[in-house]
């Protein structure tokens, strides 16, 4: 067992894959600076910088994948996919169907997501529900260094477009780059277990579409992804003292969802509480309730999600994004209902 920081684990697994597969190339804005350790090992032909032209370089990444490369396209923040969504929505996601299943675009889109460090609502969104809405896209949201490396490897071997999201509060490099800028005067509520942790000696791909129960509990199943997992575990541990036994399920993959594992757990506990940093309406939390209804599982249901545009003020932001206090409050209500 080794110990790694979150982004260090992603880059380590990526380097492993790049050493094995010369078709993997990396590009995006500032990529030579941000991935300088990969640059000096794999050279500028495989790690290159792109102009601020997301539509062009993401679209090019999709087509390069069609033509035999395995591009990892870096988008500075998931929010900026708004600029270049067409490449994913109308192209990467559609090729397999349009070609009658004969052609796919194995491109990996790597982007930081999430808030909690004061950048405001145009730079701190989650958006995995928005992406998972589109048939043909695989959406991965790891919550620990071990999962991050394993899922990156899985993404690189997957035969279709994959969106790989790194929560900025878990990423030591993004938080330093965008949040603190080298200052010691700012503090963030970093989920320690997710930011640094044990990773396997040799990277193996994790199965896509497989959820994992992080914590067992009899009274309810809290379902979440990314940094929400750590907020949920924090809440579940505190609820234990109030004799509420909450399990925590880490989806790891937003699309495809591991329906069987979700249904099995909720059928046992009879209660589902969704913790989702993404927007509440028309998203992951609603989809999870639909899965249970379709499976004929009768349960009590509640959710703690982001309901509004994320405000800039750190004070307001902490109240807008799901946190342990809010989760506990809703969990207590769920027990009473």
């Amino acid at each position: 067992m080794r110990t790694m920081f979150f982004t260090q684990a992603v880059d380590d697994a990526l380097a492993r894959a790049m050493a094995d597969d010369p078709r993997i190339v990396l590009f995006g804005e500032d990529t030579p600076l941000l991935r300088r350790e990969l640059l000096v090992r794999f050279g500028p032909k495989r790690v290159r910088g792109a102009p601020i032209s997301e539509s062009a370089f993401l679209g090019a990444g999709v087509a390069a994948a069609l033509a035999g490369l395995r591009p990892v396209v870096e988008i500075y923040m998931v929010d900026f996919l708004g600029v270049c969504m067409d490449a994913l929505l109308n192209h990467a996601a559609k090729v397999e169907t349009f070609s009658g299943g004969k052609w796919t675009a194995p491109v990996v889109v790597r982007a930081p997501c999430g808030g909690g460090y004061g950048d405001g609502g145009q730079h701190e969104q989650s958006l995995w529900g928005w992406l998972a809405h589109i048939p043909g896209l695989t959406v991965l949201v790891p919550s620990t260094p071990a999962d991050a490396g394993g899922l990156m490897l899985a993404a690189l071997r997957h035969d279709g477009p994959v969106i790989f999201l790194e929560h900025k509060l878990l990423s030591e490099t993004w938080l330093e780059f965008l949040g603190s800028g080298g200052r010691r005067t700012v503090k963030f509520d970093i989920p320690e277990e997710g930011a640094k942790g044990p990773v396997p000696k040799t990277w193996e791909p994790l199965p896509i579409g497989k959820a994992i129960l992080r914590r067992t509990g009899d009274d309810m199943t809290i379902v979440s992804v990314g940094s929400g997992i750590h907020r949920a575990i924090e809440a579940a541990e505190a609820l234990e003292k109030e004799e509420i036994s909450a399990g925590v399920m880490d989806l790891r993959t937003v699309s495809p969802l591991d329906k069987a594992t979700i249904c099995e757990s909720v059928a046992q506990t009879g209660r589902m509480l969704v913790v989702d940093e993404d927007y509440e309406a028309f998203g992951l939390s609603g989809e999870l309730s639909a899965i249970l209804l379709e499976a004929g599982i009768s349960c009590r249901y509640a959710r703690v999600c982001t309901q509004t545009t994320i405000p800039y003020s750190r004070y307001l932001e902490d109240r807008c994004l799901p946190n342990a206090t809010g989760i506990m409050e809703i969990a207590r209500q769920l027990m009473r209902s």
Binding site: E29, P32, V40, R41, R183, Y312
Partner: protein, 342 residues
């Protein structure tokens, strides 16, 4: 009519002092997240904004503080906004990248290039609702590679919209040297879309003022958009705390953090041959070297200092002006830090 250097200098100094206070707040941790200052581009902003009047609009990028304070937004409201207070310009909900002033028809965005479509839309509303008014788009040269900006320039040209596209060219696209990622010539791009382009020294406020004056006049009189490219520097790079600038300023502290993992990765088994690896290393060292040699580090490139030196000799008037501006910002700081009224 020659520019009023005294008032231009006052605008620039006010903005500079305000942003120095913002930098201090940021260093002290009173402001979280990123902070993009306009220090170094004051001459570009002042030279353009001085021509604006009631009903004119501004589309700003992630670096909009200077333009707003020069346009007349209360510095207390700007400071309170950055402190995330409910009595800030946008209730503490926008922050420095998302500053909005409906009263001044001014909107900011952290999405690179979006000033293009915003200015085009403001100008379209000008044509219908406020004939004779104009819209200004402020953006960096990195944004000139963003599709939506180029599309907006074409739209403005095709619809003859009263837009002044102002390209604040500091040579850096986020943290990458623009020349490595930009094909052709930016002025020619504008001309290729049928927009007259001019280029000025963005450190010289008089030169900007004159070029902007004829472009704004042209747009007001219904002759369509113009493109103004002004070269400038950003003393703090893309944003405060930028790693390469920290490295150059404090190499002993920052170097080990960067170099140890870098060398370890350079020597790892598996990967490219020696030539490619060295070529990668050369790219990294080149970025450090160009930061070290960067014109940002030369105080002769400070537009505020240059404007001060260009003033007619009148020590008493200068002193009066400077103490007035200093007092205004000092008072704004004190007021911004007052307790939030309950």
């Amino acid at each position: 009519m020659p520019p009023d250097l005294w008032s231009l200098y006052a605008l620039m100094l006010k903005s500079r002092l305000l942003e120095e206070a913002v930098a201090m707040f940021w260093q002290d941790g009173l402001i979280s997240g990123e902070m993009h200052l306009g220090t170094g581009e004051e001459a570009v902003i002042a030279g353009v904004v001085a021509h604006l009047r009631e009903g004119d609009a501004m589309a700003l990028d992630h670096r909009g503080t200077a333009a707003l304070v020069m346009r007349g937004v209360d510095p207390v409201l700007l400071l309170r906004e950055m402190l995330g207070r409910p009595d800030g310009l946008c209730g503490g909900k926008g922050g420095h990248m998302h500053l909005f002033s409906k009263e001044h028809l001014s909107a900011s965005s952290g999405i690179v290039g979006s000033a293009g479509p915003t200015a085009a839309g403001f100008a379209l509303a000008s044509q219908y609702l406020r004939p004779g008014t104009v819209a200004v788009a402020f953006f960096g040269e990195g944004a000139m590679n963003q599709g939506m900006l180029l599309e907006s320039m074409n739209l403005a040209s095709a619809w003859n919209l009263p837009v002044l596209f102002v390209c604040k060219d500091d040579g850096w696209a986020i943290t990458t040297a623009s020349k490595a990622l930009t094909g052709g010539d930016l002025n020619e791009r504008a001309r290729g879309l049928g927009i007259p382009a001019s280029e000025v020294d963005g450190l010289d406020v008089s030169a900007v003022w004159e070029a902007a004056g004829s472009a704004v006049e042209r747009a007001r009189s219904g002759q369509g958009p113009a493109f103004l490219r002004a070269r400038c520097v950003h003393f703090e790079g893309h944003f405060l705390g930028f790693q390469l600038i920290r490295l150059v300023r404090n190499p002993f502290k920052e170097m080990p953090k960067i170099s140890i993992p870098l060398i370890r990765s350079l020597l790892r088994r598996g990967g490219a041959g020696l030539r490619e690896r060295l070529s990668g290393m050369k790219t990294v060292l080149g970025a450090v070297q160009s930061t070290r040699r960067d014109p940002r580090r030369d105080r002769d490139n400070d537009p505020v200092r240059r404007a001060r030196m260009a003033l007619p000799s009148d020590a008493a008037r200068l002193q009066e002006l400077e103490s007035q501006v200093e007092k205004e910002i000092h008072d704004a700081l004190a007021s911004a830090l007052e307790e939030v009224p309950s």
